[in-house]
Amino acid sequence: MSENRDKNVSEAETLLVLENLRKWYAVKSARFGTGRSYVKAVNDVSLTIRRGETLGVVGESGCGKTTLGRVMIRLLEPTGGRIEFDGRDITHYDEKRLRPLRKDMQIIFQDPYSSLDPRMTVGDIIAEPFVFQNLYTQAERREKVRELMEMCGLDPIYVRRYPHEFSGGQRQRVGIARSLALTPKLMVCDEPVSALDVSIQSQIINLLVDLQAKVGLTYLFISHNLNVVYHISNRIAVMYLGYVVELAGREDVYFHAAHPYTQALIKSIPKIEFDAPPLRAQLKGDLPSPVNLPPGCPFSSRCPRARRDRRRCEAEIPLLREISPGHHAACHFAG
């Protein structure tokens, strides 16, 4: 289903292009004279996001998915590579030139408790983007806030209340209303439902799906929960240690995963199934430190497949290549 949708998308509908995007953080070197070392959070990520689609990003903690989301909309300075948003190269835009673009790029944060200012009323929080962008009169702003609250399933009579008076799910709705205020083109959703209970989670997911249909949003949906990502995405990018190791339509990622890491990730989900064999650990060991990436394939230290040709996996970084139409994987042995 999603594959067909992918094929029909032409160049003109591309909203965002990333080319070899890289974000490294300098850390103090362990010993004097050994030179600088870096936390390599995002490594050579190239992908495109099409207008109106949802691109899911999954990976375990420390895989660089949050950093990718933030660099992409220039909340962080990229270390290398190129970002093209809506036909413009914004890689080196300064704050002044970014300001008008912020209208088009918004973000929803994970924690609805720390991402809302506790001393502002909900109405002021939602109206704040208008203040920054100098839009509308006071009366118009009030009207807009009312509309946004209704759209996000909040009763407008709560406009003067403070965040602490709301539950987690409602706060997340406030965060969504604030991000929607400027009718952005691209919305980065950074684990928007991870802090919520299952029954509230489904309310927020449905809201995001409805808003996308209504406003024509494009989402980058970051989550560690594969089931949630599968549900909401058209395509999914799987990240490991800062690299995108697989990128494909959601069905391909889920049912025909080509990268051994994706396969392990999917088999690790505890399922409500009683006839299938019990859950077994798929991978041994932990994520290597992103400071000292193994040479060669980042996954080689834990990969069950690397035994086949250890020397190649440990020496040569596999490139993300198309193994079947629309299905990309970064493994020497994929496809």
Partner: protein, 334 residues
């Protein structure tokens, strides 16, 4: 004959706060057989963690208080024990694993000295003997180079390794009951699979009973034989995990299962439970779930249902099944 290791009967734990009484646990009963894993699932505020703390008698008093009920372990009521006797139970017969290994471990002591603590207290081992136990345990939980790791501090270990160390601490006195409070919630899926496998293997090896508290229905399905579904301080449904999850009786259990994004079904919209979990200090009249229930009837708004044996052969707290009520006085499950 009673083959149950643990029998919790009608346990009530309330918290007396300035805003009023918080009914955190209200008439909860369950039992755990030797070698069995019982899963307790529920959303935040359902009382599942308070249930665990009440069994361990670790509820902070004040404001909390175990108001009534019995916690029978091998027939002995833990609530009647003196403080000193209870200390011999904690860490000895019952051990607990917490959600966040970084905050549960003491950062200024080595892993080894934290493991050694309970064998020295409960089994009266010498320093040297306890150290040997610590190394053995680290090996058992799959920490590489245990002779070296025993002298590491918690911050030197990764999240998964810390949780393994916590399990080593919990199991080093060979407890009869292991309480796991969201043991894998802070971990990544691939690490979670490792830890669940480890808990399962050790449980079989040592014939320990496990109380697995989690909000993740998938985790419960994978590790437990029976499941207790809690909502707003009360048990809603209680029975075999396969039966409850494949054919839920209670509308809450049903809605919870349906609201999970499942890959197989491929629905475009998720099932939604409207509204939110009620405040435990201001609970609704009647059935606690009725304001959110799709199948509510008139009676649900005014009268609290009892936990009764449904025709499907499991305990359900719902008026839909209330023909010929048999209340849960003493648990004797078939």
């Amino acid at each position: 004959m009673n083959t149950n290791l643990l029998d919790v009967k009608n346990l009530c734990t309330y918290f007396y706060t300035d805003e009023g009484v918080v009914y955190a646990l209200d008439g909860v009963s369950f039992s755990v057989k030797k070698g069995e894993t019982l899963g307790i699932v529920g959303e935040s505020g359902s009382g599942k963690s308070v249930a665990a703390l009440s069994v361990m008698r670790l509820v902070q008093t004040p404001p909390g208080k175990i108001v009534s009920g019995e916690v029978l372990m091998n027939g002995e009521n833990l609530l009647k024990l003196s403080g000193k006797e209870m200390r011999a139970v904690r860490g000895g017969k019952i051990a607990m694993i917490f959600q966040e290994p970084m905050t549960a471990l003491n950062p200024v002591y080595t892993i080894g000295s934290q493991i050694m603590e309970s064998p020295r207290i409960h089994r009266g081992l010498s320093r040297r003997q306890a150290r040997r136990v610590a190394i053995e345990m680290l090996e058992k939980v799959g920490i590489p180079l245990p002779e070296k790791r025993v002298d590491d501090y918690p911050h030197q270990l990764s999240g998964g390794m810390r949780q393994r160390a916590m399990i080593a601490i919990a199991l080093c006195c060979n407890p009869e009951l292991l309480i796991c409070d969201e043991p894998t919630t802070a971990l990544d899926v691939t690490i979670q699979a490792q830890i669940l496998e480890l808990i399962n293997d050790l449980k079989k090896e040592m014939n320990t009973s496990v109380l697995m508290i989690t909000h993740d229905l998938g985790v419960v399905a994978q590790v437990s034989e029976n499941v207790l579904v809690m909502y707003a301080s009360k048990v809603m449904e209680y029975g075999g995990v396969k039966e409850v999850f494949t054919d839920p009786c209670h509308p809450y259990t049903k809605a919870l299962l349906e609201s999970m994004p499942a890959v197989e079904s491929g629905r475009e919209r998720l099932h939604v439970i409207e509204g939110m979990v009620p405040s435990l200090s201001n609970r609704p009249e009647g059935c606690l779930f009725h304001p959110r229930c799709e199948r509510r009837m008139e009676i649900c708004k005014t009268l609290r249902p009892e936990l009764i044996m449904a025709p499907a052969g499991r305990w359900v707290r719902c008026w839909l099944y209330a023909s010929g009520p048999r209340t849960l006085g003493s648990i004797e499950r078939g």
